[in-house]
Amino acid sequence: MFTVLIRIFRSGWRSFYRDREIALATIFVLFLSVILSGSFFLFKDISQILVADLQEKIDVSVYFKEETPEEDILGVGKELSELPEIKNIEYVSKKQALLNFIQRHERDTALLDSIDELGKNPFLASLNVRTWNPDQYAKVSKFLEGPGFDSFVEKIDYYQRKPAIDTMRSLNSGVTKISISIAVLLVTIAIAVSLNTIGLSIYNSRKEIEIQKLVGASSWFIRGPFLVQGMICGILAALISILTISLICWFLSPRIENFFLSISLFTLFIENFWMLVLIQFTTGISLGAVSSLVAIKKYLKD
């Protein structure tokens, strides 16, 4: 059994080495599929981080009527925070709101002067509410419009922000949907092409397969070397793909960091490195092996 395995591996390696041109074509095709799977894996993370980044920037503020005492506002906040949808709540008092405004418009003396002239603090106390998910804002605002709260609540700026939230929401599900469907499409094409390429290279060996059968080789003894050959191609394709991805990440990383705040492509790559390696090798080896098995099937029939 052991000698048979060794022979199969040796013979697979030998024919891989002798048919280098064909192997090269196979490796290239497998490489395309493998790098595709790798980039989708990374892209999924990037898009998730991007979307999460944007989500962080969205919130809804609830403004309370002028005379509402602070305890009541905090009471509302407490009640809100018991909703499962809420991620966090930040209380901004009248004073804080004024300070924020002054800070934001430090240079605009005319604006600050006009507030001075007003003689009193024109801002309302508010709660800044963040939910886990952009489509939960509607529910929160419904909750605050309900009975019991309308005596305190001056306005909820959900409706002013609705368009932005909606865009966010569709972007979120859209990105996932589109990337999944593109991934499925491309992977299908990749499998078809690698099947075809490996099929062609086995077609070249159809005479050999027939001779091997005539000499009395068992099916697995014939199949084995092709399987090994396919897997070697897969492994090499995965190696090249990992190399390519790391080079791309390394080159692009400093350029991209200027655009998006919280992503460093290279850090992302390093963090996911082993997962990436695993995915690349699994895709490469299994694609090579499965294509070989499928392609050789019809030549082994009697």
Partner: protein, 253 residues
């Protein structure tokens, strides 16, 4: 009384012969259905029966289309007979399942007109492959392959690919390959069909040498000179029937 014992002896011998026959064709008929509708199916073999005994040298003779190749294909189970039984060492081929096919083929060495060597393997590797297939140990391969290369006189060409060898040399590699795993029988289907007269005799002499060493040889050919020089058993086929089976036959058609 003496007569009776003789008769018994004869009967016993007859029985032993049946038991001993290496290959037994019994009423073999093979009909190839036509691929084009309405045209007639081809009858390649029509109720053919004969035995081949161990260590025989049998020539199958006939025009092309007489059924020689079909017979060999049936024996290798590349084709199945339409009716009739083939016994190989007493085992009915129709009972052999496809997993056992490699068992059968390992007992038979085959030599073809077009050599059928593995193009990507050297002469040595082509021969070694047959041994690898039957699971021979590496030492055995290292011991036996040079031996058969020596028998066919190709020790110096061991490292050459088939494309680098002449026709006669390729056929000798093919014979060495058929020989190396010590099969019970060697089937040679027009082994000299692509060779000049000089190399033809070389190959035939090689086959005779193999028979002398104890292997059954079945030679299918339509080469008159070869048959007439052999003086061995000749089975003549015509239109799918055995028309002659002679102990020391000549080429008569």
């Amino acid at each position: 009384m003496g007569n009776l014992t003789n008769l018994l002896k004869q009967k016993l011998n007859y029985k032993l012969n049946i038991l001993n026959s290496l290959i037994k064709f019994q009423d073999i008929t093979k009909i190839y259905p036509s691929n084009v509708s309405k045209s007639k199916p081809t009858i390649a073999l029509d109720k053919v029966s004969f035995d081949i005994f161990p260590k025989e040298f049998v020539s199958l003779v006939g025009k092309s289309g007489a059924g020689k190749t079909t017979l060999l294909k049936l024996l290798l189970m590349q084709e199945k007979p339409t009716s009739g039984d083939i016994l190989f060492e007493g085992k009915n081929l129709s009972e052999i399942r496809s997993e056992e096919l490699s068992w059968l083929r390992r007992k038979i060495g085959v030599v073809f007109q077009d050599y059928k060597l593995l193009a990507a393997k050297t002469a040595y590797e082509n021969i070694a492959y047959t041994m690898e297939v039957i699971g021979a140990r590496d030492e055995e391969i290292k011991r036996d392959v040079p031996k058969v290369l020596d028998i066919v006189g190709l020790s110096e060409r061991a490292g050459n690919l088939p494309a680098e060898l002449s026709g006669g040399e390729r056929q000798r590699v093919a014979i060495a390959r058929a020989l190396v795993h010590r099969p019970d029988i060697i089937l040679a289907d027009e082994p000299t069909g692509n060779l000049d007269p000089y190399h033809t005799m070389e190959i035939i002499e090689l086959l005779l040498k193999i028979q002398l060493m104890g292997t059954t040889v079945v030679l299918a050919t339509h080469n008159k000179d070869v048959i007439n020089r052999l003086n061995k058993r000749v089975i003549t086929l015509e239109k799918g029937r055995v028309i002659r089976d002679e102990k020391e036959g000549r080429f008569i058609l």
